[in-house]
């Protein structure tokens, strides 16, 4: 299957992107005013203590030298030590990666589970009541700030109805899953609206398309026309939309993780930014970037799988 040959070659393309991101994060975090040593020591820090910390983490070196060290570490598969947590950044990230990953996956699945039926209903009733209803719901879904929405969900489902845990993550699989429902729903409510809009448009197009006409002309009932011909043809733009939105989605997890106290990378990142834990910010940014690149890569594979015409 030569159409899939890009799978082996594409990763080469990632290198410049990852490299670019490493430089940008490196410079960016160091441009932020404020000093990790001071954050670490608090307001009562003495100048000697601060100098001591700076020396310990190599922050007194010139930036370019720090970057070279960083690259050298990277080549050895390390990302330096967290200033705040004093452990290896990769090790730290490894402890935090699962909740974020699980959250993203659940949100995407849930969004799809919401978007496909919504879009189908809308598209098959285009211009009529159900269509308008879907459009109104989805515009409302996107308008609410997620932190507010999340809190409302907690109040409703956890406090009032006592159905689901308020926050946190859990230890067993089932436990984790029940903790993920509300946060995923919070993200899915906005993500699904984006997907619904795109799917709906593609489906309406598809229902009017020649492919659908041809299927009807050979006597296929509307059900088959829709599920066998229209839906598969609508998927590709949606897959790409999802891929493009990964960065945004990951950004969204930051707020949701903090509302739902999920011990993921988003929380780690926010705390790292506010405490100027350079190495951790760098590390998380790189991991996020790699994840985005990877998701786009997977989306490419999915696109190729979903549409035999596509060559990459």
């Amino acid at each position: 299957m030569h159409r899939y040959r890009f799978v082996f070659l594409r990763p080469l393309q990632f290198l410049p992107v990852i490299f670019g991101i490493s430089i940008i994060t490196f410079i960016l975090v160091r441009l932020i005013p404020g000093d990790p040593a001071r954050v670490l020591l608090g307001t009562r820090a003495t100048p000697t203590a601060i100098a001591n910390i700076r020396a310990q983490f190599g922050l007194d070196e010139p930036i370019w030298l720090q970057y070279l060290y960083f690259l050298r570490n990277l080549a050895n598969g390390e990302m330096g030590k967290s200033i705040l947590y004093k452990i290896d950044v990769l090790k730290l990230i490894a402890t935090r990666i699962e909740p974020t990953l699980a959250l993203v996956v659940c949100s995407v699945l849930l969004s799809i589970a919401i978007a496909v039926p919504m879009a189908s209903i809308a598209a098959r009733n285009a211009g009529r009541g159900p269509d308008h209803a879907v459009r109104i719901i989805s515009t409302f879904g996107i308008g609410f700030p997620p932190f507010w929405l999340g809190l409302m969900l907690i109040i409703l489902f956890s406090v009032k109805l006592d159905l689901l845990p308020v926050s946190g993550y859990g230890a067993t699989f089932g436990d984790k899953l029940s903790h993920l429902i509300l946060p995923s729903l919070t993200i899915a409510l906005s993500l699904s609206t984006v997907l619904t809009r795109s799917l709906r448009a593609a489906m309406i197009e598809g229902l009017k398309s020649d492919v659908a006409t041809a299927a009807r002309a050979r006597g296929m009932p509307e059900r088959i026309v829709f599920w066998r011909h229209v839906l598969p043809n609508s998927l590709v733009p949606t897959i790409n939309l999802l891929a493009v939105n990964t960065g945004w989605l990951i950004g969204g997890t930051v707020v949701v993780e903090s509302v739902f106290a999920l011990p993921g990378m988003g929380q780690l990142l926010v705390r790292a930014i506010f405490s100027r834990d350079y190495m951790v910010v760098q590390g998380v940014a790189m991991v996020f970037a790699c994840a985005t690149v990877l998701v786009n890569f997977l989306a490419d594979i999915a696109t190729v799988a979903a549409d035999p015409r596509v060559k990459l």
């Binding site: 940008i24 994060t25 700030p145 984006v194 493009v244 960065g247 969204g252 910010v281 998380v284």
Partner: protein
């Protein structure tokens, strides 16, 4: 085969309105907020930042239809004044990315080759870059406030527009009228900006409407993380974020600004949908 001249008689307008309900509805919502912003000093019943220690945390009532916050400030007045800031956020937060992205996308798509490759790698990098890291870093570098927010939005947001426009230009530049323009000896600038861009831009205009919603929400998220506009300025996102602590005791502090965001977002969305239909844009 003669084309019918378009004349909008009275009845014509009626059918126009009939066909364009969405457009009209979206535009009206937007207009409503614009008027609200413009005439804020006239219609707001109270000074939006004036604190009244005797009227703290009052539930909605006749003198304060939307209630008051923990400083005794009138929520309605703050929402009305907030419209100024939020419309500004939506507008500026979209315009700069739009302009930058459009220019970059046009140039990259038109010239192709190395120019395109370089721009697209930059786009890749920014897309892969966690949006919030960039946003938070830039805002902390420049100090919280609107201008930092705009700069952050512009640095990140242009990418979507550049991608959209570039994709369009790549298709359009092989169109016969573009080839014709080349064969007739037109200059590159003319071809790019007079022939290609006007035909490529509809998608971006539609997208800019939903982008405005995202910008508003990013503003709110930034407020949640404490980096929103400087107090005591009234801004809806900040109002929702600040009101969070009263969410169970004084729901009105968050609900009304929240609803304002939703309504404005709603206006933008349906305007975007309608424009999309009008301009024949397929998402």
């Amino acid at each position: 085969m003669s084309a019918r001249a378009v004349s909008l008689s009275h009845a014509g307008w009626r059918t126009f309105l009939g066909k364009r309900t969405m457009l009209v509805a979206g535009a009206s919502i937007l207009l409503f907020f614009i008027l609200m912003a413009v005439f804020a000093p006239l219609i707001a019943p109270y000074d939006p930042i004036l604190q009244d220690g005797s009227a703290r945390l009052q539930a909605p009532s006749l003198p304060h239809p939307f209630g008051t916050d923990n400083f005794g400030r009138d929520i309605l007045s703050r929402i009305i004044w907030g419209a100024r800031i939020d419309l500004q956020i939506a507008f500026i937060g979209v315009v700069f990315p739009f302009v930058i992205g459009t220019i970059v996308g046009t140039v990259a798509g038109f010239f192709g080759g190395i120019v395109d490759a370089v721009f697209m790698r930059i786009v890749d990098i920014i897309l892969a870059f966690p949006f919030l890291v960039l946003m938070l870093s830039i805002i902390t570098i420049l100090g919280p406030g609107l201008s930092s927010f705009y700069i952050a939005m512009a640095l990140v947001g242009w990418v979507s527009y550049a991608r959209l426009i570039r994709a369009q230009i790549l298709v359009l530049k092989n169109n016969d009228y573009a080839v014709a323009a080349v064969s007739l000896g037109f200059g590159r600038m003319r071809i790019m900006f007079r022939h290609l861009l006007p035909n490529a831009i509809a998608g971006s205009i539609v997208f800019s409407m939903s982008d405005a919603v995202l910008v508003l929400l990013s503003g709110a998220a930034v407020s949640y993380l404490g980096l929103g506009v400087q107090p005591p300025v009234a801004e809806w996102g900040v109002m929702v974020a600040e009101g969070q602590s009263f969410i169970t005791t004084a729901w009105w502090i968050t609900l009304f600004p929240g609803l304002s965001i939703v309504c404005l977002a709603f206006g933008f969305s349906i305007l975007g949908d309608a424009l999309g239909e009008l301009l024949g844009v397929h998402e």
